[in-house]
């Protein structure tokens, strides 16, 4: 079985829910090394996304992603708005015209999306950004899919790689985003954007991993 539009909706909704649950946590992380608004920003955006999805009922997977992207872009602001916006916009482009998506297609779409985020934000691994969670996740995901793992197993590996990448941001000195202004003082703190990206991979795992292949 491949990923359906319904599962895609569940994925976005799940992401909205975990963002809401972790709003204060993300904001706290951002207070330590940023400006204390990442949870607030993402939650404002995802609430708007969920409302928009409810009111517009996008017809297919690509439309769901594009609606998510445009809503994030116009409601989040900050660094995370255009970056997550770019991610979802690219997912929308990669899934254009598809009623369902296979594990391989999902892995390729997500890879392209993360690369688009890298192109927009110019961050690379170990800059202490969301890339540190996303990049390991796509590597794990595509390797797992290449190894023939089922989607559940592949997504589990992606999620746990994202988690490792997120934790690996703790000792890093930030080179991108607001945390970079702190210089050495940014070390010893977990990056908020890497944390929300790990939550994103968790949402994908829960929504797509269940009995799909």
């Amino acid at each position: 079985m491949a990923i359906t539009a319904e599962q895609t909706l569940a994925f976005i909704r799940d992401f909205g829910d975990v963002i809401a649950t972790n709003k204060d946590f993300l904001t706290q992380l951002d207070s330590d090394i940023g400006d204390g608004d990442h949870g607030i920003n993402m939650n404002r955006g995802m609430r708007a996304v969920l409302a928009k999805l409810d009111s517009t009922n996008p017809p297919d997977i690509s439309a769901i992603y594009r609606t998510t992207a445009m809503t994030l872009i116009s409601t989040v602001g900050g660094a995370s708005g255009p970056l997550y916006g770019t991610l979802f916009l690219q997912l929308g482009t990669a899934t254009q015209g598809k009623a369902e998506i296979s594990a391989k297609e999902w892995s390729e779409a997500l890879t392209a999306a993360v690369h688009a985020v890298e192109a927009r934000g110019k961050a690379t691994l170990e800059d202490k950004t969301m890339i540190d969670a996303l990049e390991p996740a796509i590597t794990a995901l595509s390797e797992a899919v290449a190894d023939g793992a089922d989607l559940e197993a592949a997504l589990a590996r992606a999620e746990s790689s994202a988690e490792q990448g997120m934790k690996a941001t703790i000792p890093l000195v930030a080179r991108r985003g607001r945390a970079s202004y702190l210089g050495e003082r940014s070390a010893g703190h977990q990056d908020p954007g890497a944390t929300s990206s790990w939550l994103l991979m968790g949402a994908a795992h829960r929504a797509f991993g269940n009995g799909t292949s």
Partner: protein, 333 residues
């Protein structure tokens, strides 16, 4: 959190309502999306200038919309960059056929959102140039990082480019002038207290009774170092020295000294700092030819100050002195 607000979520909207009610003679306010433009926008055959950024820095930027300064400003949520749709709509609303300059403070969020907005405006056939202000010497400048933050020089750039645009300069001239201001301006700030983002409800960082943060930005970010509380004279030197060393300023240079309150520091303290700044700069062979003292680029109710020095030449001095009529800066009219 003790603030004169109604609902943390409604602060920006209600602030805009206040600005509209108070300054309807100078500006028009759009609520969907949020932006503020000159009452007479778009001014035909004038290069337009917009800026924008998170709210919480008042009077910047909305208070600088008016004749001789900005054509428009886009307020984001508190300390959060506005979104591309706001900037694109504001660009449209001020465009008078000679192109639009985007003055962008160097924060990842602001830069990325303004980039998207410029793409959208260009798609609508409007010529757009963006100049990124990155004047904060507290941040190490490096190709491998996000670079320096944009802080106090932004206010000066908005005033000076606004004067040039009013006098008929083309988009490329105004953009070039903006780059010149940025190249000749440097800033550094410090905090005695944190500030509280309304939606967060508690201070962004904690500072002991005998501590201060040196090298803060304007978003309640912690600074480069935490130090024992120092005297006003010491603080003035701690901020001014890295600025003077960075540019580098030269003996005999004339400067505009902009001593800014972060919001919670009252004027009485700014003047105490100013006397120290004045002495320090004299000692370095610099002459303060113009000054600006007060809360102009704030960080909510944070206590603290920042210093910006802009190296002046006759052109910049003349444009600084040109008439301006905004809620936040006014002279000559």
């Amino acid at each position: 959190m003790k603030k004169l607000i109604n609902d943390p979520e409604a602060v920006v909207r209600e602030e805009l309502q206040g600005i509209e009610a108070a300054h309807g003679d100078l500006v028009r306010v759009s609520y969907d999306p949020y932006y503020i433009v000159r009452k007479d926008a778009p001014v035909q055959n004038k290069t337009a200038i917009i800026s924008g950024g998170g709210s919480g820095h008042e009077p910047m930027h909305g208070g600088f919309v008016g004749v001789g300064m900005l054509d428009g400003a886009c307020p984001g949520e508190v300390f959060t960059s506005p979104t591309p749709d706001q900037m694109a709509a504001a660009t449209q609303a001020v465009s008078g056929g000679k192109g639009v300059l985007h003055i962008v403070k160097n924060y990842t969020g602001d830069v990325l959102n303004f980039e998207m907005a410029a793409d959208m405006a260009r798609a609508d056939g409007i010529e757009v140039e963006a100049v990124v202000i990155d004047d904060d010497v507290a941040v190490k400048d490096s190709l491998y990082t996000a670079g320096r933050r944009g802080v106090g020089t932004t206010v000066l750039a908005e005033k000076i480019t606004g004067a040039a645009a009013e006098a008929g300069a083309s988009l490329s001239e105004v953009a070039e002038l903006c780059r010149k201001v940025n190249a000749n301006g440097r800033s550094m700030g410090m905090a005695l207290t944190s500030c509280t983002v309304p939606a967060a409800g508690k201070p962004t960082f904690d500072l002991g009774e005998d501590e201060m943060e040196i090298g803060i930005g304007i978003h309640g970010e912690p600074g480069r170092e935490r130090r024992k509380l120092a005297s006003a004279n010491e603080v003035a030197e701690m901020l001014a020295q890295p600025i003077v060393d960075d540019l580098p300023f030269r003996q005999g240079d004339r400067v505009l000294a902009f001593l800014n309150s972060m919001g919670g520091t009252p004027l009485i303290e700014l003047y105490v700092v100013y006397q120290a700044l004045d002495k320090y700069l004299r000692g370095r062979g610099l002459t303060i030819e113009r000054n600006l003292i007060g809360p102009y680029i704030t960080s909510l109710e944070m206590a603290g100050c920042s210093i910006t020095l802009l190296r002046l030449d006759d052109e910049l001095t003349r444009l600084w002195d040109a008439p301006v009529n905004t809620a936040g800066l006014r002279w000559g009219v």
